[in-house]
């Protein structure tokens, strides 16, 4: 009976005409392709929105407004005793320099041929509070210039910078006590006169963090060094330990319940949230071992713990991928097991190991959560380290921690810098991942 019913259902079917079922199957496939393409399209759109937002918000941080001012380094203000003694000159604090800056700002407005009713205090208010620090630093390092008139390019105040970048408008400053409309009018005139100019902001990439009162002076350079030192610690510790552990586990260790447990635990460790490693770091490295807080060494140690599982897993995978025939051949010609591993297996697995390491490092580079707990977030990245020991031990921040810190601060100008920092961080991450891809492409062998 069943046979007849089958033949009857096939009757009338043609190769040229699709049956109901085939049509349904084809439709299902077309639908599935559609879903897949939509998923990819959504992903791409999201990525584009992300990249667009980051770039459009952050690109402003790479430009900064400068004011060119001629400052007369008055000897009676800076060196009251007139003996050019450096210790005496150093006694004049940055507050003692503000009269010079006020006078200089006023004369530069006069020289530009602009008439204004603003007081010298308001004119000098267009300059960053960093100006006095720049000036003092210059005088302390060039004490013989006292008495001369020197041309400086000072940073402009963050509101002025924001005005030239379109972030600050005349409407938005209605209640702002940091700047007035009259000051903005003066800015317009000074821009026409060429006194105020926007140019590339090298200090953002190489400078140190600045306090809340002068966002225009903040840079990511010192925290970049902090990240660099941490990555150094991670590389120096995690790579040898990780590779040694995986070689032993893969090549030498007997297969028993103990190694099984270790294996499972390593896989689990890779999934542990990074904040857990931060708490561990606080408890072990700082509270128990008494390592200094906020030090990149501690940050590096914590990130090493975090990166180890990634490196071990990828190393073991690439060791596994080396065919046993290579080991057998080496052993066959009389090599010891260790020689077989180090002379033949390891070099062949190296590209995979390096790729895994770089990806692990890139992960560690972008990590903020564990750094919160070991004191690397705050106003920290202010002193550039002067050597290996101070780089590892004196307090520093890291790039993602610095970005987080900027995003928290009150002045909107810091927000722009946070996005700018993200661009720099992304450039680092993309570079590292590209290197990993290139290594894999060029050196990986398939059997």
């Amino acid at each position: 009976m069943s046979d007849t019913s089958q033949t009857s259902s096939r009757q009338g079917s043609s190769l040229l005409e699709l049956s109901e079922r085939t049509k349904k199957r084809n439709a299902a496939e077309a639908r599935f392709r559609g879903y897949g393409m939509t998923a990819i399209a959504i992903g791409l759109i999201m990525l584009m929105i992300l990249v667009f937002t980051i770039i459009s918000k952050g690109v402003g941080a790479f430009q900064q407004t400068f004011v060119t001012v001629q400052v007369e380094l008055l000897a009676d203000k800076l060196d009251k005793k007139g003996n050019r003694n450096l210790d005496d000159i150093k006694k004049v604090t940055t507050f003692g320099y503000s009269p010079l800056i006020r006078a200089a700002a006023e004369t530069s407005v006069e020289q530009a041929g602009i008439a204004t009713d603003l007081k010298s205090k308001d004119i000098a208010g267009l300059l960053s509070k960093n100006a006095a620090a720049t000036l003092r630093e210059y005088v302390v390092s060039n004490p013989n210039q006292i008495g001369d008139t020197v041309t400086f390019r000072f940073l402009a105040q963050s509101r002025v910078d924001g005005y030239l970048k379109g972030r600050v408008t005349r409407e938005s400053i209605a209640n702002d006590k940091n700047i007035s409309v009259a000051q903005l009018d003066l800015v317009d005139q000074l821009v026409d006169a060429g006194v105020i100019q926007k140019s590339f902001n090298l200090a953002f990439i190489f400078g140190s963090d600045a306090s809340d009162a002068r966002p225009e002076a903040a840079g990511i350079g010192v925290s970049m060094l902090g990240s660099l030192f941490m990555m150094m610690v991670v590389l120096v510790l995690a790579l040898p330990i990780g590779v040694a552990a995986s070689i032993y586990l893969e090549e030498f260790a007997p297969q028993n319940w103990l190694t099984d447990i270790i294996e499972v635990n390593i896989a689990n460790l890779a999934a542990v949230p990074s904040i857990v490693f931060g708490i561990l770091g606080l408890a072990v490295f700082i509270n128990y071992l008494h390592l200094p807080t906020s030090a990149p060494l501690v940050g590096g140690l914590v990130l090493t713990l975090m990166t180890l599982p990634t490196i071990i897993i990828s190393t073991r995978a690439s060791l596994k991928a080396v065919p046993p025939s290579i080991r057998d051949a080496a052993l066959g010609v009389g090599a010891s097991k260790m020689q077989a591993v180090f002379h033949h297996v390891l070099p062949l697995a190296a590209p995979g190991i390096l790729t895994g390491t770089i990806i692990g490092l890139a992960q560690a580079l972008g990590e903020t959560a564990p750094l919160l707990l070991i004191g690397m977030v705050g106003f920290i990245a202010s002193n550039a380290p002067d050597g290996l020991a101070s780089g590892l031990l004196s307090p520093n921040s890291a790039m993602p921690a610095q970005i987080y810190e900027w995003a928290k601060r009150a002045d909107p100008a810091f927000y722009e810098r946070a996005w700018g920092g993200i661009i720099i961080l992304l450039v680092f991450l993309i570079t590292m991942n590209t290197i990993a891809v290139i290594l894999r492409r060029r050196f990986e062998r398939r059997w």
Binding site: F95, S211, A213, A244, H290, P292, G375, S382, A410, P412
Partner: protein, 346 residues
Amino acid sequence: MSFVKLTASTLAIAAVSATAATARDQVQVAGSSTVLPYASIVAEAFGENFDFPTPVVESGGSSAGLKRFCEGVGENTIDIANASRAIREKEIKACAEAGVTDIIEVRIGYDGIVFASDINGNSFEFTPIDWYKALSAEIVVDGKVVANPNKTWADVNPAFPAQPIQAFVPGTKHGTREVFEDKVILAGCEETGDFEVFKHANGDDKKAAEKACISLRNDGLSVDIDGDYTETLARIDSNKDGIGVFGLAFYENNTDKLQVATMSGVVPTTESISTGEYSVSRPLFFYVKKAHIGVIPGLKEFAEFFVVDEVAGPDGPLAEYGLVSDPELEKVQETVSTEATMGDNS
């Protein structure tokens, strides 16, 4: 073999650097995120004007900072704790147990707490009673204690627009929260007379009545913000009905997005706070570990520099940023220069 050697030498380097970690040459500060901007401004100026390295300032909240401060004496503990409230008895005790006995309390000035909402929204003229009625978990209606029934600001005070109540208040780890509870919610509670009702209902227990006043509603109309003011600002940005609690300095940096509400008819400014007209303000402190003076280079110089007239005075950079300078600054300067500890004061 090379890997083994590399690992061994790495560990050796790590060990050597760890032993080199004994001498710390910069001041370490942690604590209140309200004090952080001021501390960082001073730290920066200190680094510029002295030959000492710039001090390190971490945030995390007054309580967290004082907890770290009280961990003990030694180079791996912090030297200064910033706080947006006075240190508590409990904390002094905890400090003493860990060996931190001589603490110098330094008041740097006053900070206003302001209520601000989206710049394009309704403007408000609050009194403490309004906030108490809007946010307390239980209020008294017709002589009976009931769960807070108010849903819109018009329910609280007929003079207000019928805007849904949505408040973003600082979380409990912030020193700001304590001031908000004391000077706004509790003040409102007492002013309405509800305090007496609560006291009566709790068997004349003042503490329980206070607690009943200041426990905020948890039906989603009052949201605790554990992060910083930027988070509060972001919440108001996405919810235009929201009203947030900010520090004066933060508001003054974001006047393009926020409008400030008056409290009892007074607009918060540094002037109205320094005269005491604007009531919701609190002193800001930092606490110095006396045992570290002379051990950590620059600690005393930093503490002194923090309160000199040029920095903390009415024309200094701190006042410019939004701090209301202390009218008794001279006394504070004396405290720091004589290293008078808290025990000596009382």
